[in-house]
């Protein structure tokens, strides 16, 4: 069975339970490297899909929260190789499919020749690479496909209609529909045009559609629910971790 199918299945399972799937983002090794797997397990108890952020020195699509977490994790010595080792060696991994979210350079440096197999051995189902647009992504997508891993495509409110349709046709795992122009972490009140944009994404996509950027509360999830298959929660969850609160309790509040 293809791993990317797992992602779609996990999202479909939430849907059949009558709620949008929760895709939870955590920066690997944040707030502490020593509690990485523990944090992952806690989040896994309340999330349908987990994005594990590989820290990078220049996270150009991220706001202050994820920049801070990324910087702290790097200071703590978190690397892609370490993340894969930890996951591979884990006594138990969450049932939720795991995605690695990384800027391209750490992946390039690890090597496209070795990375897909290493990721698969670590139980990873796919990748999200914010600075790898479709035009530049063929080599990596092909390498991932050989191991049954997905490369999740992002679309945005400013993506022209034709391009949106082309990107959605190639979608693998799910379509990551960015809800606003800008960086992660800023809250939005989900205006009507975002909902019609999400409807357009859904109409164009065979894969499930998950909305991300700026999602922080149950009210937003309720408003988005009729228009998407899942929601992605990143900066708000990282802030919960930063404050030392329980990530699972926070995520469960978002279960409709």
């Amino acid at each position: 069975m293809s791993k990317s199918l797992n992602i779609a299945e996990a999202i479909a399972a939430a849907k059949s339970a009558g709620r949008p799937a929760i895709v939870a983002f955590m920066t690997a090794g944040f707030p502490r490297r020593a509690t990485f797997l523990e944090t992952l397990t806690r989040i896994g108890s309340a999330a349908d899909v987990i994005e594990i952020g590989v820290p990078f020195t220049d996270p150009m699509a991220d706001g202050m929260t994820i920049q801070r977490a990324s910087e702290a994790a790097l200071k703590d010595g978190v690397t892609l190789a370490w993340i894969l080792d930890e996951l591979r060696g884990a006594a138990a991994r969450p049932a939720a499919p795991l995605l690695l979210m990384s800027y391209l350079n750490p992946l390039l440096r690890f090597g496209f020749d070795r990375l897909p197999a290493a990721a698969r051995a670590a139980g990873v189902s796919g990748f999200i690479v914010p600075d790898l647009p479709n035009e530049e992504g063929d080599e990596f997508a092909t390498a991932l496909k050989a191991e049954g891993l997905a490369l999740v495509q992002m679309v945005t409110p400013v993506t022209p209609r034709e391009r949106l349709e082309a990107l959605c046709r190639h979608a693998d795992g799910f379509v990551y529909a960015v809800t606003m122009t800008g960086i992660t972490g800023r809250s939005v009140d989900v205006p009507d045009e975002v909902l019609s944009y999400l409807d357009a994404v859904r109409a164009a996509s065979g894969a499930p559609v998950c909305a991300g950027f700026g999602i922080r509360n149950r009210g937003q999830v309720e408003r988005l629910a009729p228009h998407v298959d899942g929601v992605i929660v990143g900066s708000a969850l990282v802030e919960v971790l930063e404050r030392g609160e329980d990530p699972a309790a926070f995520l469960r509040e978002l279960h409709l």
């Binding site: 390039l108 690890f110 647009p133 530049e136 122009t181 800008g182």
Partner: protein, 414 residues
């Protein structure tokens, strides 16, 4: 070190570079370049590319640009003979005086060209990054001239070491935003400018200062800076009696260097030397000599050479000059290095400061510390090539460096 390509392949790539095949349709110079940005910026880059193709060669745009360059920037800039240095170094030294361009450096060539483009593309505001502050000042000036509001991102470390330029930007109405994230220098300023642009890709024009970033910026900046080399080439023939034996320019991101080099690339007998910041030494983190010590990777939108660790994390760099203090380099430089057409070397902090002092007292020109790196390398070259005719890109003036010079060369002398 950049991977060297076999000689036959390199010759073919050079022939294609001379034919103007690069960047290709995918924005590549050989393997280098491309467009590695968040999806949100793809339509903005598509629009920029289409607008650039529409306007760059348009007669009205060209007429506007020529008028601004001639009557506002002060072009053509002179070619000066360095009479004293020629005698001291035993060679024939010529200086292309970009320090005499309005705002004191080559940056204005691209800033006014891009600001004119931004107007035609209907931009409501402009963002820019700056390292040494020269591009920030040039952007502030160009935007003031054309009535465009501009926000300049500048690393907190650079704000301190290039303080005079911050005041100049503010006087010309720019908003200067200090960047306290990351390394607080040029790289962090680019990251922050990209974050701003991604927040309003339709209304904002990103006026990128160097020949770096996603396609089409490396091409656009080269086209606007190539006036340096085109003028210098004609001036050398008229004033120096022929083309130079060797051309030198300093390389950070590489905008003044690509502007100087590109018109000489087809002159195969002319040696071309790009000079990077050797900082304190060859160790990772001690310099900003990306081509000399870097390896391929992706940073800030392009595949090029980078200074990064074995995990692909970008390294903090060191240079006494803020304008060279950058862990990446324009993709066309990585390409020209890989095919062997341009030789890249480095000069350390101390040697650059010595060259700055020598140029100041022998020719009465205080250059930017960035520029001084090229002079130091030319001096070394002259020592082994007596009588050579050498053209040096004098990319900017050094007034902005007074805070650094007060701490270094002038320590205890004021």
């Amino acid at each position: 070190m950049s991977a060297m390509i076999d000689p036959a392949a390199a010759a073919e790539l050079l022939a294609r570079e001379i034919r103007g095949d690069f960047p290709d349709a995918r924005g590549r110079f050989g393997p280098f370049g491309g467009r590695y940005v968040p999806e949100t910026l793809i339509p903005a880059l598509d629009r920029l590319e289409a607008g650039m193709r529409r306007w760059l060669k348009d007669p009205d745009y060209q007429a506007d640009l020529a008028r601004e360059l001639n009557t506002w920037v002060g072009r053509p800039t002179p070619l000066s003979h360095a009479t004293t240095l020629s005698a001291r170094w035993g060679a024939d030294i010529w200086m292309k005086r970009e320090d005499l361009a309005h705002t004191g450096a080559h940056k204005i060539n691209s800033a006014i060209g891009q600001a004119l483009l931004a107007k035609r593309l209907g931009a409501k505001r402009v963002v820019a990054e700056t390292g040494a502050g020269q591009h920030g000042v040039a952007s502030a000036a160009a935007c003031a001239r054309l009535g465009l509001p501009v926000t300049v991102y500048m690393g907190a470390v650079d704000i301190e070491r290039q303080a005079p330029n911050v005041g100049r930007m503010k006087l010309m109405g720019a908003t200067v935003k200090p960047v306290t994230s990351g390394d607080q220098t040029l790289r962090a300023a680019v990251d922050e400018a990209l974050r701003d642009w991604v927040s309003d890709p339709n209304g904002t024009y990103y006026l990128l200062g160097s020949a770096i970033g996603p396609h089409p910026y490396p091409y656009l900046v080269r086209e606007l800076q190539a006036i340096i080399g085109r003028e210098a080439r004609v001036q050398m023939q008229a004033q120096a009696g022929g083309l130079p034996t060797a051309v030198f320019a300093c390389v950070g991101g590489g905008s003044n260097a690509i502007g100087m080099f590109y018109p000489f690339v087809a002159d195969r007998d002319v040696e071309i030397h790009g000079i990077e910041a050797g900082g304190r030494g060859p160790g990772l983190g001690d310099n900003a000599a990306t081509i000399c010590f870097g390896t391929p990777g992706v940073l800030q939108g392009a595949y090029s050479l980078l200074l990064h660790d074995e995990h692909g994390q970008i390294q903090e760099t060191h240079s006494v000059s803020a304008g060279l203090d950058y862990p990446g380099v324009g993709p066309e430089h990585a390409f020209l290095s890989s095919i062997g057409r341009v030789k890249y070397g480095s000069i350390g902090d101390d040697e650059a400061l010595e060259a700055l002092e020598e140029l100041s007292c022998s020719e009465g020109i205080l250059p930017a510390i960035e520029t001084a790196h090229a002079f130091a390398a030319a001096k070394r070259y002259a020592a082994t090539h007596p009588g050579a005719r050498i053209l040096i890109g004098l990319s900017g003036r050094g007034d902005k460096d007074m805070p650094t010079l007060t701490r270094t060369l002038l320590k205890g002398k004021l």
